[in-house]
Each structure stands twice: as C-alpha cells, then as structure tokens.
Amino acid sequence: MDKVRSLEDAAAIVNDGATIGVGGLSMNGAPMAFVRELIRREARDLTVVAIVSSMAVDWLVAAGCVRKVVTGLVSFEGFGLAPNFRRAAQAGDIEVEEYSEHLLICRLQAAAYRLPFVPTKAGIGTDVLDLHPDTTRLERDSATGELYVACTPLPLDVGIVHAHEADRLGNVRVNPKLIWMDSDIVRAAAATIVTVERMADHATFVAAPEHTTYPRFTVDAVVEVPWGAYPTSLFPEYSHDAGFYQAYLAATREPEQWSHFWKSRVGAPETQGEFLEANGGAETILSIRQGT
C-alpha cells in the first residue's frame, strides 16, 4: 500500500478539535513544515501534546490553532521565552496542562501499551501532580508502601514526527538512530504522519534493516519535505537557524513588525521552497547545513 501523501492531504487527517502529538525536542527535529501546513489550513481547537517544544508550539499558538497545550517545557532556550506561548498563557487564551517530561512519556506509554497506567517516581514532591490528580495519581504500593505515580493513558488522535527517510510503504529511518522521544508519540497515536527529508528505495531498508526506526504498520502517511524541520535542526544534517529564532523574538516585541514578519516569513509562502526562500534561501540553507 502506497503511503506517500502530499502535505495538504496529510494535514487533512487532522480534524479541528483533535489531540495531536508533535515530535522533536526543543530546537531539534520538530515537524515544522507540517505545523506550517496546519497553520495555513487554519486548524482550530487543537490539543497539542509536545513533550519539550519551542517553535512548533509557539507557531500553532500564534496562529490561533490551539485550545490546550499539554507539555513539559516550551522555551527558546538561551534565546528567551517562547513569546506567543507566554502571551497566550498569560492572557488565558490557551490552557496549559503542564507535566514533567517523564510523566508525559509514561502517559503516552500507557496509551501505547494499553495499560490503565504506567508507574513512575517522577513528579513526587512537586506541585505538578496537583494540576491533574486524575491523570497522575499519587499512590502507595500495596506491598511496600512505596509512593509512585500512576500515569493514565494519553491517546493521540494523530502523531506527527519528522525523520530522515522513508520508503513508499511507510517504513521510516531515523538516521543514524532514534534519539529523542518521537517513538512514544508514534506508538500512542491512532494515526501517524511522518514527514521526511527524502524518499528512499525500499531496497535500502532491506540492505540495512537494523536502521529502520518505524515499521510500515505503525505509519499511516509519509510526506517528503526537504528541510522539513527548519527552523529547528535535524541531526546530523542541519542545525537550527539561530537567526530565525532571534528575528522572530525581536519581531514579537514590535506589534507592527510582528504582523509583517509572521505573514511574510511563516504564513504566506505557499510551498516549502517559497518558505525557505522567504527565510534567506540558499544562504540560510548553506549556513545551517552540517557535514554528515
């Protein structure tokens, strides 16, 4: 079965009101081209699950796509706070359901493993558990009296991750290997969309089966989008674009500037090529490209 889809067709899988999981970690490996497509089609009322995020959540919030963010962390690291996330949370425009990283991982694993909960010691002694006592229940082991936290399932309607290569059948390779928590998103999702830098022949998967990351039966749609994680990084191929983060943050400080920046550099470009062109084109590509 051919799982190759256009960005448009894949984005149509995400209904308004859906709970989506977005891969990547902070400034690394987020499916940004797909996020931009959601923005362009004006997705609404999404619940966005992102374990550790930066630009992906900030864009979706800026575009008004989001009702609730379920997360451990949303930041621009040393560049500053995620500006739209911060503003919307402070204004009450979005709900923020904060977890720690491992509490969120355990909730996704409970969904993936069809268990009523997955236990962890994460969060014990903090205020995080009190935010959602039904989904992170503090309990005592009946035999030892030890405290643990029972993390209930967090099923995702759609999981979206970015990777290096896929074949038409939906086998996906993260190259050189899976590093961040994307597999927990893939496994907890009813439908999984993977954007990839490039399509690869099925024969290349057979030639190196130890490098296959997601088998075809866990993937529903594959979309080829070169530089699809831009402006976040994709190890080891390209780094995040520090210039974009800085310009974006600067623009949010000036309301007039912001609307121009947002439209010209994020919202308006039709294709991935036009988007990259609007953000420095070849110069940018060459500046973030890394040796492999």
Binding site: T71, L73, H102, K121, G125, T126, P176, L178
Partner: protein
C-alpha cells in the same frame, strides 16, 4: 557579560565553574539539560583535571562527548563531538536516570527556596500567571530520581531566592528535614553555587547554609539578596570561596569553553 572577581585574576563565571567542578569525582555520572553552561563547563573541567573517569552525557544523549568548544545551546548536537555513545531518550536515558546509573544533575530555577526546590513554571498563580515560564521539563523527574543534585544561579537576588515558591516544579529537599527521604528518594541537593556565594545544606534541617562568599561579597550582602534567612556555618565564620588555580583557568578558558558560551547565563 563577564564580571571580575575583585583581587583575583578571574571572573565570577569562572569562579562558579571551578567551584562546581571541584565537587565532582571519578564516580560522577552526569548529564545536562537546556541552558546549562555552568555545569557543563564544570563537568568538562573536572574530567580534564582531577576526575578523568567522570561520565558526562551531553544533552543527556552523547555519552563521554568531548567537544572542542561549546555551542549556543547545551541541547545542541554541536557539543556531541567525540562521544562514544549516542543514547536514545526513552529507551536508554530514562532507564539510566530511573536506575540512578546517572547520579548527578544540576538545575536552576526562576525561583528557588531554602530547601533547594525550584520553580520554572509560573510567576503568580498557575491559572492566571503574571509570567508564564517555560515549564519544569525534566526537573520534576530528575530532582527526585537523581541522588546528587546541584543548583546554580547567576541572579542571586530576592526575586530568585524566595521564601515561598509560586510553584514547585522540581524537588530539592522538599519541606526539609527527612521529607525527601519519606517521599522515597535518596540523596538530595548538595550545593548551590551563585554569583555571590556558595551554599550547602544543613545536615538536619536541609536549609541553605552559607559555605563561602566570593571575594568582595559579605555574608550580609548575601542575606540582603536572599528572600529567606540564610544559615551561617556552625562556627559563624564564612570564608572566601577558594580561587581557581592557574591550571584550572587555563583549561577552562582554552580547552573547555574557548568561546565563552558560559557568559550567556549572565545577561
């Protein structure tokens, strides 16, 4: 922004890194999260001086990384050079963290209290925040799981060191005393290194206690800059923080962090 230490050939960032580095040993098995230049410098410095067997997983991923210089993000793969293992987050990292195979972690918060608990979630009420901060990330996980916790701050003032956190994102010694142990965790915060001083924790109450002040800073200065009462050492006298050696400074400046990325924590 580099701040000179009066009467010494070094700056505050260097003093902080060296102080922290001296705490680590060949049994230290550490990793780091975002915006963690001070501890990352300290792990690398310790490994290049007195603790060659120290384990450091860059970005929690790249075990035994040995970068030529740091990068603008401590989660960036630019600091993974020379690693002997690229581990995987859900399968490897969390197994090692839960199992205390990693035993050392350092974090900072927008707010910290006397027991070394930290807040990185909100200033103000959670549901109607004055400032929405990034979130606790792994603090709520690792503050408890990892036995040797180190704290640092480059903004020692009474907005950072507060009587009462607005939100407890990460666990230190909890409510103090035996609280952390009662919750099921071993170890606890060992040290808090700031731009003004070095604090440890009283062995019984687990409250912050002044261990040393940086040259030019007095115990009274520290107290003025702290929103809770800071304990003094039993004998009442507070020494100056020991200065870096020339070797430590040379290695830090020339080998560990030649492009001074650590100054990104002083803005």
């Amino acid at each position: 922004m580099s701040i000179p230490v009066p009467g010494a050939d070094c700056t505050v960032d260097e003093l902080m890194v060296v102080t922290l580095a001296r705490e680590f040993t060949n049994d230290t098995r550490a990793f780091n999260g975002a915006v963690s230049f001070i501890p990352v410098c300290a792990y690398l410095l310790a490994r290049r001086t007195h603790a060659p067997d120290l384990v450091w997983a860059a970005s929690s991923i790249a075990v035994d990384a040995d970068p030529d210089r740091l990068a603008e993000s401590t989660l960036s793969d630019a600091i993974w050079t020379g690693a002997s293992m690229l581990s995987n987050s859900p399968f490897d990292f969390w197994a090692y963290a839960q199992g205390a195979r990693y035993n050392t972690f350092a974090f900072r918060g927008a707010q910290m209290d006397r027991y070394g608990n930290v807040n990185n979630t909100v200033i103000g009420p959670y549901d109607d925040p004055k400032v929405r901060l990034p979130g606790g990330g792994g603090m709520a996980d690792l503050g408890g799981m990892i036995p040797n916790v180190y704290l640092w701050s480059t903004t020692h003032n009474d907005r950072t060191f507060v009587e009462q956190l607005d939100f407890r994102s990460g666990l230190g010694w909890g409510d103090g005393g035996d609280h952390r142990r009662e919750l099921g965790f071993s170890g606890g915060p060992q040290l808090c290194v700031t731009n003004l001083c070095v604090m440890d924790f009283h062995p019984e109450s687990r409250a912050m206690r002044l261990r040393s002040v940086h040259p030019g800073v007095t115990a009274a200065d520290v107290q003025d800059a702290t929103g809770f009462g800071v304990l003094l050492p039993d004998d009442g006298s507070v020494p100056d923080t020991a200065l870096p050696t020339e070797t430590e400074l040379r290695i830090l400046r020339d080998e560990v962090d030649p492009t001074s990325m650590r100054l990104r924590e002083f803005v």
